[in-house]
């Protein structure tokens, strides 16, 4: 699984990255987490409000920081 955290580096973005790593640890899902800070690349996902979470090239959350259990649900649903 390929996970990307989109955000220029504000507080919310680091929170989202941390929660994503926590959720991965809890669920035991194997995945790579990449941080995307380049504005052009962020925008190319159609995301205009950061932070955003991308799982396998699919934007699943944008503009807010979901709780850890919500991220766990997103990780395990497929």
């Amino acid at each position: 699984m390929e996970i990307k955290v989109l955000g220029p580096g504000c507080v919310n973005c680091t929170t989202l990255e941390k929660r994503t790593n926590d959720a991965l640890a809890v669920t035991g899902v194997a995945a790579t987490v990449e941080k995307v800070t380049d504005f052009a690349e962020i925008a190319s996902y159609g995301v205009m409000s950061t932070p955003a979470l991308v799982i396998d090239d699919q934007v699943v959350v944008s503009g807010r920081v979901p709780k850890s259990d919500e991220i766990q649900a997103l990780l395990t649903r497929s």
Binding site: V11, I42, M48, S49, A52, G63, K67
Partner: protein, 349 residues
């Protein structure tokens, strides 16, 4: 199945019952704020409200409580309401609009769309790359920080609805006119070229429709906590300075130096305000104290708008997408607009 239904119903009761209880507690705290501090500071601790120290301390505690309560209530309500809007939906509403009408729509949407300054750059790219004209994008970008919901409610709480309404109207007009002017100047070539080369993959994402009321309330609570965590130092410093001015600076101190008749008052206020970086919650206690000592309303509003709408960090961020000339035009047009608003209000208020 019935137990499932009962569980759902219980959940609903808890959600809305909790909201009603919180609202009642809020209203009680708000109405007992003044009597409580009067009782504690003057009746119990024996401070004299007529002394400098007494009035400064009362101002500090009363104002801190009042502003904290107002902020909690407002941020929660606004976040829940805004969870029905998204930048993506706003962009869809603005796509294909012509200048003029488009500027008006963009300014209005700038107020209601959830948007933080760290999203300014992706937002800008997203708008421009999707074909929203530059001037209309600018109207949105100016209105969004300028007409700030925290500022609206604090102005209402501290000065009454006329000042709050004036502030909203001034901010909207400024965003519409400034965006329109920037659009007319045809400055597209001063946008960093990569913005136009950005291709948008697939459909823009809009996930705002999938939320339940529970999610929206949770978002409201989290937003309250995160904003308060972020702004409390500004708030305490702002109220502290405000309290000192309130207690020690003589009445009408500013009337001679910065009264409505002094043409230099507004430019100086804007000049001081632009490099200052704070937010509405930190600036307003200061503004309230300055106004009480005779600083004219237009000057005070211009000061607040320049602090809130233009800041060095935001300008640094925008430099990523705007070339220096366009950035200078942006700052110049907004500062000139704030100046005009201040001067105008000093004449009419």
């Amino acid at each position: 199945m019935t137990t499932d239904l009962q569980a759902v119903r219980r959940e609903q009761w808890r959600l809305w019952g909790g909201l009603a209880a919180a609202a009642t507690a809020w209203a009680l705290l708000y109405s007992f704020n003044r009597p409580f501090w009067d009782w504690l500071l003057f009746d119990s601790l024996g401070l004299d409200p007529e002394t400098h120290l007494g009035s400064a301390i009362e101002f500090f505690f009363y104002d801190t409580t009042k502003i904290a309560l107002l902020l909690v209530g407002i941020i929660f309500a606004v976040t829940v309401l805004r969870s029905f809007m998204s930048v993506e939906r706003t962009r869809a509403l603005l796509g294909g609009r012509r200048e003029g009408v488009g500027n008006v729509a963009a300014a209005g949407l700038g107020v209601v769309t959830p948007f933080c300054s760290c999203s300014a750059v992706p937002g800008f790219i997203g708008f421009v790359a999707a074909g929203v004209p530059l001037g209309i994008t600018m109207s949105f970008l100016i209105a969004s920080p300028m007409v700030n919901e925290v500022a609206i409610v604090l102005l209402y709480g501290l000065f009454g609805w006329k000042v709050a309404a004036t502030y909203v109207a001034a901010g909207l007009v400024l965003a519409i006119v400034a965006g329109w002017v920037i659009g007319r100047l045809r400055l597209e070539r001063h946008v960093e070229p990569f913005v136009f080369e950005t291709t948008l993959r697939g459909q823009p994402v809009d996930l705002s429709t999938e939320l339940s009321w529970e999610d929206r309330f949770a978002m409201g609570r989290e937003e309250v906590a995160s904003i308060l965590r972020k702004i409390w130092p500004y708030l305490v410093v702002g109220i502290g300075i405000g309290a000192a001015i309130h207690g020690w600076v003589p009445e009408d101190f500013f009337v001679d130096v910065a009264g409505p008749d002094n043409p230099l008052a507004v430019p100086v206020a804007v000049g001081v305000g632009v490099p200052l970086y704070s937010n509405a919650a930190g600036v307003l206690p200061l503004v309230e104290a300055l106004h009480a000592k005779g600083l004219a309303m237009g000057t005070v509003l211009a000061f607040m708008m320049s602090v809130v709408a233009l800041s060095v960090p935001e300008i640094v961020l925008l430099r990523r997408v705007l070339k220096p000339k366009l950035l200078a035009v942006f700052v110049g047009v907004v500062a000139a607009g704030i100046l005009a608003v201040g001067v105008l209000f000093n004449l009419i208020l």
